[in-house]
Amino acid sequence: MARTLLDKVWEAHTVRTLPSGQTQLLIGLHLIHEVTTPQAFQMLRDGKLKVRMPERTFGTLDHIIPTADQTRPYADPMAEEMAVHMYRNTKDFGLPLFDMSTGRQGIVHVIGPELGLTQPGMTIACGDSHTSTHGAVGAIAFGIGTTQVRDVLATQCLAMAKPKLRQVRVEGALAKGVYAKDVILAIIGKLGVKGGVGYAYEYAGRVIEHMTMEERLTVCNMSIEGGARCGYVNPDATTIEYLRGRPYAPAGAAFDKAAAWWKSMATEPGVAFDDVARLDGGAIEPVVTWGINPGMSVGVSQKIPSPDAQPEPERPTFREALAHMGFEAGQPIKGARIDVAFVGSCTNGRLSDLRAAAEVAKKGKVAKHVRALIVPGSQQVAKAAEAEGLHEIFQAAGFQWRKAGCSMCLGMNDDKLQGREMSASSSNRNFIGRQGSPTGRTLLMSPAMVAAAAITGAVADVREILR
């Protein structure tokens, strides 16, 4: 019988079936960061447990680090304390840590693929819901909680139930000014924020097949926003070329053997999925969220929908969203005034994202009332961008050029919204309070759209600027 990548990866990593009926699943790559791990290490110490396979866990610093002045000790004593714990925990348990001195530090979901740690056919876990990102290379990757981080450290395993599989096919071709971010926002808009609960998503179809690896990473990153704990793209020539030469990828003859194994893990033709969803890529326009979850979105030429047009149980959330955002039903999203523009995050903080934003930034200057930040996803992204002079383009246009980290995606450092500020953001969550101010407001969109909003001072249609 034809098998899916999910079937093959699951089978290869199954240690045994647990008495509960779940699978004891071996985790091939474990990534850790400073916010969701200190308690897990404490649990190890309390239980007198060791790390089972220290060579399969890698750490970085991303969530709390400042992106302006990174001199230690950090100005925020709580951030400093978390960093100190991360250094101590990784040292005590013998785990590598990609800190600033390595030149490889960055957002955990940016550096995994960038360093070639993330490979096809692996199971990958991290105490972070956007671990789904790594599925772009053909891995089964999912976010876990802190107690599960303890389990992976202590046993290299997790107790998991195998998800169902939905293939999401995006056919056709994207128009100019439409990016991977618009594709995933359109998918979430169609299938809903809980449509993926219980499922893994296999992204396929012509649009996905033609995407670069960085674009696929953007799509898989937001699987969780659609409720799917993991999402993947089958490994193909794009995957293999992406991995060639990366520091942790196999080299020489081993690379060819690896490539053959990677390809053998792809879903076979003729598989029956639990469900299939289809989208026409050609019909997607630049997408902007107007509400308080990532499913509340419209095309940039559209109007904000009315709660009355929604099914009854959805109406209270819609009304709450309009009230929080200060929008009226029927109002066009284009022209909504912004105060802050943020390009960065594990969704859109890679080199191609910065290039797309820079192309737009060249066309104008940041509006006077707008505070605009560019935060590269990793030190390596920053270095590559600087080598191309992107930082100069941004600075000349009035954007701040920062150091790598999560930054205003979740506002755990100094990069926060103030009061009710409205932010045009290339990140992944528009939840109330997400960007650091309890009353702050977030509009999610592609990096090019963020840059367009920054120079316009309001939500704009990037297609008109690029014309």
Partner: protein, 199 residues
């Protein structure tokens, strides 16, 4: 500790209705409270911003003080994987949750803490939330084993998938010990993987 100490066959306590769909983990505990290296202080920050912005928030209501069974809407706990969210609820006093559906990582985190999350129909949830509102002192029983919730003289169906149910009822939700039992089979599985063994 024997497994019986961990068994979560049923939870009985006063109810706390929290209407609304898509309540995400950023709402349950905003990120600024995550700058802690322990979970100890999380309880006091549960829904902190929502409580400050809305004096009528159910977590502010004296009527629900001491409640331990949370009754929510659809897609509760979506978003971030932060275990700080169920930790905050647990330390606030929540011992079981009944809702329409749950964010998957949140659900798993709750199991790891021994907090059962049961799924009931929209109509039953609305009834239960209203009924608790009318009689907040009356206990709710969440029966994990029988997959039902009892309140006053009414019984509603509330499900939890087999795997987590077995873990909760059997007291094996504290998974490290269970996973360690696999012993050398863990290394054996790893040793067969080409990327571990070497290509």
């Amino acid at each position: 500790m024997s497994p019986t100490d961990f068994a979560r066959r049923q939870v009985t306590g006063r109810g706390l209705p929290l209407p609304g769909n898509d309540i995400d983990t950023d709402r349950i505990i905003p990120a600024r409270f995550l700058k802690e290296v322990t979970f100890e202080g999380m309880g006091e920050h549960a829904f902190e911003d929502a409580r400050k912005q809305n004096p009528e928030h159910p977590f502010n209501s004296p009527a629900y003080k001491g409640a331990s069974v949370l009754v929510v809407g659809q897609n509760f706990g979506c978003g971030s994987s932060r275990e700080h969210a169920p930790q905050a609820l647990m330390r606030w006093g929540i011992r079981a949750i009944v809702g329409g559906s749950f964010g998957e990582i949140f659900f798993g985190n709750c199991v790891m803490l021994g907090i059962p999350c049961l799924v009931a129909s929209q109509a039953d949830l609305e009834w239960l939330q209203k009924a608790i509102g009318r009689a907040p002192q009356q206990p709710v029983t969440v029966d994990v084993e029988k997959q039902e919730v009892r309140f006053a003289d009414r019984v509603i169906k509330a499900t939890v998938p087999d795997g987590p149910r077995n873990q909760l009822v059997g007291g094996t939700w504290d998974s490290t010990a269970v996973l360690l039992e696999a012993g050398a089979a863990i290394e054996a599985t790893a040793g067969k993987l080409p990327y571990v063994r070497g290509f």
